[in-house]
Each structure stands twice: as C-alpha cells, then as structure tokens.
C-alpha cells in the first residue's frame, strides 16, 4: 500500500488516522478554512432567509473509499498476510470484489477523536483485507456519524445503514448504548462492536441478536485481572470503591453488581461508588465524594478523556488512594501526563513494545511505516482486527456456499466457529478472540495489566501481568 498515492482528506471524507491528522499542511489548512468560512457565511444567509431548506437528519453519512490493490498477483503485504493468516481460498476463488458494508462511529462531538482512531483502524484493516485477498474482497465502507453517542444519531445510523441493505455494520459505543440493537435485528445486520464491545457482562447488551462485542466485556472483564493483581500485591488495602460514568441505570447497575461480587470474591470491602458525569471536565465534586468514602483503592470504569481529568483533580484534591482504570490512549496520555503516575491499567491493550505474536508485529510495523512512525493504539487494532474477522466470516460463508449479502449467514458461521485471529495473545502466528455465542462477548481474549509511562506518551508501558476473561491464565510479567 505504501507505493499507492493516497487521496487527500477532502477527496475521501474518510476518517483519517491521528498520524495523518497531525500533519496539517498549509494547503489542507487553507482548504478547510475556506470551507469553514463558506459554511459560516451560509449560516447567516440561512438565518436571514428565515428558514432552512436543509434536510433534517441526525446522522450524517460520508462516502466510503474503494481500496485499490495492484491488478496482478499478490502484493508483498498480501503474501505476508497469507503467510500469517492463511490463504483465503474461497474468497480468492469466489470473492465479490467491491463489497459494501457500513460503520457507525463518533465522527463529530466530544468523542470524535475515537471516531477518527477507530475509523483509521477500520480503513487500514479494509486496505489489508484487500491485499490479503488480492483485491477479491474490497470493503466499501459507508460511515455514519453517531455524534459521540447521541441516541437519535445512533438510531438514525442504524436505520439508514439497514435501509442501505448492507449485511455488516461495524459499531462503536456499545452498539450506540443500545440504540442500534433494534435496527440490527430488524435489518439482519451483523454488528460487531470493537469499540465498546458488548458492555458489562452480565449486562443489558449481552446476547442481543446480530450484535457482538469484539473486545473484552467493558469494564467487567477488565476488572478481574486488576483486582486479582492488587489484592495479591497490596493485601493490606481492603477498602475498595468504584467510580463509573453515568450511562444508564441498567448499565451502571450491572457494573456495580459485578464489581461488588468481584470484591467479595477477592475478600476486600466495597465502600461505595460514585457516579460521575460522562464526558465532563470538572470532576471536583466526584472526587470529593470519593474522598468521603475514604477508600484505599478506586476502580475507575471511566473512558476517554474523563480519566485524565479525574486523575489530575484527584491529585489537586490531595487524594492518596491507589487508582486503577480500564482505558488508555494517546489523548488520555497527553492530557493526564504525570497525574497518571502509579495508575494501574488493565484491558485489551496493544503493547507496541512487546507484541505477542507474528500478526501483531506485522501490524505494528506496517502501521508505523504507513503512518510516519506513529504507533497504532488499541482502538486502531480493534477495528483492524474486526475488518479481518468480517473477512474471515465471508471466507467461511463462501466455503459453505452461502450468501454473503445476508447478515444471518454471518451469525450462522459465527455460531459454527466463533474463533477469530487477533493481534492480542500469543505466541505464534496470531493470537485469538473467541466469542461466546450466548453472551455475544469474548470468552477468550488476552488483556494486559500495566503502569502507564505518565509522561504524556502512550508507550512504553510497564507490563505487570497478562490475563484473560475472568482473570483466567493470569501471569505476572
């Protein structure tokens, strides 16, 4: 792919990678500024006219791109992928070429940074699937904007994707915090979610038709290894508290119930929880509430930038408890800086310093080469692997003589074999993710417990332990 001329952002409307975004050229700036100026001017004109003729839609769709591969033979990248993942014989024999799927991501709003990073991972997966299959499977992804979890936008994305008759909708935000669920079932769209997974397990989003979490159950699966480690290494710390973002009562209740049970299992005391606003910046009251609980350890199920603010304000408030969380990426690392010193973080994290298998090494090296040395993050990795999981299902459907435009066929093949290659885990050619066909969330996926560098960078982290779902295969590093 590196020898291809890359289309510009303005030409594709495709979510770009952080690495690409950081390179803001003068031409790009002027181009975007011109569009911005025009739009602002148009705002005044519309208002002066007294009415707007714009169509009402809570979800915006951008056109996808059609990946290009060299016309003859398998590329070097494709050969390496075939060496690692095996040869997709059925796709090579009966592949559809261009194949339309959809993705709903946070392209605007407070979480747009995640839409960008997930979109970049998905786009990279699409490119490499095309190379892996020698152009016989080129996903044409239509992106829908969930506006960072706005329910109406999520629902509109689900409806519009369904009406476009795509069999696959790559999701985020735990199936749009449930807003996508009815549309996935109604339109029979296979809906993997590598962003938020299926949420807490057990929880309100598990086992829903057509909807599958393609990352660990969040945050419940992540907590097991953290609590196991902390109770092992800090046995004198007995008072545990929970801070979680306000999502919805069924979600928050599920997280609390699981956490209370977990604390009991490891013989520590649950002193209470604090529900904090989602996506805020001022957490002084939340931190004061935590101080009122006088905990030794606080588990944060927050995600995004919230953790950075919470970490900083905990320091400003003079908090001395041990902090543990389940998210860590570039923006958080930059914002949190030294406030994240001493934090324990555990989840399905991409450790770029010590990849566990051949595919992970290949992915990291290729990504860095194609993104000016920028390292991929775990959102990039999750969506990248999900593109391959969808391709794997297509390979199986074609092998069984099925119809790849029928979303039900994806579910049928997943029920038959719910194991997919992944960049997490190892050693060997690949790690794996195994989807539980009852909960629709992973029953096996390797996670990493680590201390972050706490210097504004996302790597190198200090690995402490690896563990699987329910803290299985727990190993100190």
């Amino acid at each position: 792919m590196r020898d291809q001329s890359e289309p510009s952002f303005l030409e594709t409307n495709e979510p770009s990678s952080p690495g690409k975004d950081s390179a803001l050229t003068r031409r790009r700036f002027i181009g975007r500024s011109a569009v911005a100026g025009s739009a602002v001017a148009a705002t005044g004109v519309l208002a002066a006219c007294g009415s707007s003729s714009s169509k009402s839609s809570s979800s915006s769709a951008s056109s996808g791109t059609t990946p290009k591969v060299s016309g003859s033979g398998t590329s070097a990248t494709g050969k390496q992928l075939q060496s690692i993942l095996g040869v997709p014989k059925n796709i090579l024999a009966k592949g559809p070429g261009t194949f339309k799927i959809a993705a709903q991501l946070a392209l605007t709003g407070a979480g747009s940074v995640y839409g960008v990073t997930q979109g970049a991972g998905l786009a990279y997966g699409v490119q490499q699937v095309a190379e892996w299959t020698n152009g016989k499977l080129m996903f044409d992804v239509k992106y829908y904007d969930n506006q960072s979890g706005v329910p109406q936008a999520e629902a509109a994305a689900g409806r519009e994707a369904g009406l476009s008759s795509v069999p696959v909708l790559v999701s985020s935000y735990i199936f749009g915090f449930g807003a996508i669920l009815p549309f996935s079932a109604q339109y029979k769209m296979f809906t993997p979610d590598p962003g938020g997974g299926a949420g807490p397990i057990p929880g309100p989003f598990e086992g829903k038709p057509y909807c599958y979490g393609f990352r660990s159950g969040y945050p419940t699966d992540c907590f097991d290894g953290i609590v196991k480690y902390l109770t092992m290494k800090q046995p004198s710390k007995k008072k545990y508290a929970l801070l979680q973002p306000v999502i919805a009562p069924p979600y928050n209740d599920a997280v609390e119930a699981y956490t209370v049970k977990l604390f009991k299992q490891y013989g520590v005391d649950y002193v209470g929880q604090v529900l904090a606003p989602l996506g805020a910046t001022d957490y002084t009251s939340s931190i004061q509430k935590l101080k009122g609980l006088d905990p030794d350890v606080v588990l944060y199920s927050s995600f995004g930038t919230d953790i950075a603010y919470q970490a900083k304000q905990a320091i400003s408030a003079g908090a001395t408890w041990i902090s543990a969380g389940v998210d860590f990426q570039n923006v958080l690392a930059k914002l949190g800086g030294s406030a994240l010193k001493g934090w324990y973080l555990g989840f399905d994290f991409l450790n770029t310093a010590t990849p566990g298998n051949d595919w992970a090494k290949f992915f990291i090296n290729e990504w860095k080469a194609d993104h000016k040395g920028a390292e991929p993050d775990y959102y990039n990795a999750g969506d990248y692997c999900t593109a391959f999981a969808v391709a794997t299902l297509i390979e199986r459907i074609l092998g069984a003589g099925g119809d790849i435009t029928d979303g039900a066929q994806y579910v049928k093949q997943l029920d038959a074999d719910s194991t997919f290659p992944h960049v997490y885990g190892g050693p060997g050619k690949t790690g794996e993710i195994v989807i539980d066909t009852t909960t629709h969330s992973p029953s096996s996926l390797e996670m990493l417990l680590f201390n972050p560098p706490a210097n504004g960078a996302v790597s190198p982290v200090t690995p402490l332990a690896t563990y699987n779902i329910k803290a299985a295969d727990f190993k100190l590093v």
């Binding site: 960008v116 606003p277 320091i315 400003s316």
Partner: protein, 318 residues
C-alpha cells in the same frame, strides 16, 4: 449513592462551589452584557468562549509561542469572532428580518454555535488542546482545616472577581461605560445625542469576548480546552444573567453567579454529582415562577420595613 460527608466535607463542597461560582458570575456578566445592551441573543457566545480557551492552549502547545502571547492571541481571536458575528451575521440578519430580528439572530447565532466548533475541530483536530500547556500556576493541593484547594483556584477567584469589579468601574466611571449604559437605556436617544450605537455594540461584543475569554482561559488551565468547550458554560451564563437581571450591576451578577455556584456545590452533599446541573436550572425555574407570580399578583413578596412607614422592599431584582 448518597454519602453523608463530614462537616469539613460540606465546607469543601461550598468552597468548590465558591470557586466555580466566581467563574459563573464572570460568564454571566459576559453573556448578559451583550443581551442587555444590544438585544442580540448571542448564543454563539459559546463559540467566542471556546475560541479563546481552546486556541490559547492550542497555540501554546503547537507553535512554541510562549504562554502569555498565546493567551493574548486567544483573547483577540475570541474578540474578532464576536466582531465578525456582529458585523457580518447579526446586522445583516437584523436588517432583513425586521420585527423577527430577535428570532432570526438567535437562529443565526445557534447556527454559528454548531458550525464553528465542528469546523475548528475539523481543521485542527477534535482532541483537547491540553490545559497543562498554559499552566504556570501551581495545581498542587493546599489543605487548611481539611479543605483542599490549589493556587490556581485562588488565582481563579481573584481574577474573575477583579474582572467583575473592573467592569463595574468601567461602566460606572468611564466615558465608554457611560455611552454603553446610554445605549442600553435608550438607543434612539443615544443616537440623537451623537453616540454611534453600532460602535458601542462592537465595543460591547469585544468587552464580552474579553471577559468570557478570561473565564475560558482559566477554565482551560484548570481542566482543558476543546473546540466545543463553550456549550455547557453558555447555559450557565444564561441562567446567571437572567437570575441576576439583565442590565444589572456587574457586582450583582458576580454575587448571583457565586451564589449559584455555592448552591450547586453544596448540593453535592446530598445529591448525586450528575444532578448538580439540574440544581442550577431549578434555580432558574424557581426564579421564573417567582417572576410570573409577581405579574399575577404584584403585592406578592413586598414587605414593609418596621418603623419606616411607606418604605417597602421587594425581592425584585434591582
């Protein structure tokens, strides 16, 4: 989860509320100034606020320009946005919309509020600018009697109140302030005596941007700056401005803002944190009900001061 906090815990909530409330006062003053003097419902105040807060940090972090010049550039950028909005959007809209100007301007302003932050995010990226880039004031904790605060918190209160008092002095004692008050009271008469109300409008938009910009930059220092960081504050500003009374003294607006902050902060003692914002809007609702009750029965809430026959006090703002 309702946790009963200790007395020091309650005092901590109140102090946190006082700190935040000082900021509410300043943004209420900033927002209310425009509405009171120009009659423009400048909802895009949120954008001006965000431009100042976001770009100060963004410039400091991406260009290598020192913090103070970055802050000045951010403040100027917010002011320029306000001027452009007034000159190129509001005035043409008002001229064409006639009697529907208030609504038309609100729609235009609302459009700006949605469009500009998203376009800014598109141009320079959607991530936070990182308030730590502006931090040369310590955020290390100090503790007195179990109450914790930072040096930045103290600076925040001092600076916001200094701005509020400074605005009061400006409006009360300066030539510009007298002209602003004249236009506020009677634009037509002001024009008749030679005051260019258009220029006064521009001055008010600039003053508002500077006041809001100071609050935004301090907020960026405390938390971070984002392209849409003005969306929540604009609602607070709205509540404070209307609860204090449009066109009232800057000192009064600062006091009301601080009081709202204290009530909001203290409410955390009994309520979940996510309900704190509801408290603020409940205050506005109660205020509006009170106002409506006064219209229905003017004698309500009028009390005679003992020993001073004929003198009454009311709880009416003013």
């Amino acid at each position: 989860m309702i946790a009963l906090a200790s007395v020091s815990g309650f005092v901590q909530y109140v102090i946190d509320g006082l700190i935040n409330g000082s900021g509410y006062g300043l943004i209420g003053l900033s927002f209310g100034l425009i509405v009171a003097v120009t009659g423009r419902f400048h909802f895009a105040w949120a954008t001006s606020y965000a431009i100042a807060g976001f770009f100060s940090a963004y410039i400091a972090s991406t260009t290598g320009i020192p913090v103070v010049p970055s802050i000045i550039i951010g403040l100027i950028a917010g002011a320029v946005f306000n001027i452009l909005a007034e000159v190129f959007v509001y005035r043409p809209v008002a001229a064409k919309a006639g009697t529907q100007a208030l609504l038309a301007i609100f729609v235009a302003s609302f459009g700006l509020t949605i469009a500009v932050p998203n376009l800014v995010a598109w141009i320079v990226g959607g991530g936070p600018a990182g308030g730590e880039n502006l931090n040369w004031i310590s955020t290390a904790p100090h503790s007195i009697g179990g109450v914790t605060f930072t040096t930045l918190d103290v600076v925040y209160v001092v600076v916001t109140w200094a701005c509020g008092i400074g605005t009061w002095v400006l409006l009360r004692y300066s030539s510009l302030g007298r002209r602003i008050r004249a236009v506020q009271v009677n634009p037509g008469m002001s024009e008749a005596v030679g005051i260019n109300s258009g220029n006064i409008y521009i001055a008010v938009f600039v003053l508002s941007a500077l006041l809001g910009g100071v609050a935004a930059i301090l907020t960026t220092m405390r938390y971070t700056g984002t392209a849409n960081m003005g969306l929540t504050p604009v609602f607070y500003a709205f509540v404070v401005a209307f609860a204090a009374g449009l066109g009232r003294s800057p000192i009064r607006i600062m006091v009301v803002g601080t009081a709202i902050g204290i009530v909001e902060g203290a409410s955390a003692q009994w309520l979940n944190v996510q309900w704190q914002q509801v408290v603020v809007f409940a205050i506005l609702l109660i205020y509006l009900i009170f106002k409506a009750a006064r219209v229905w029965r003017p004698s309500l809430f009028q009390f005679t001061i003992p020993g001073r026959s004929g003198v009454t006090t009311t709880t009416e703002p003013g």
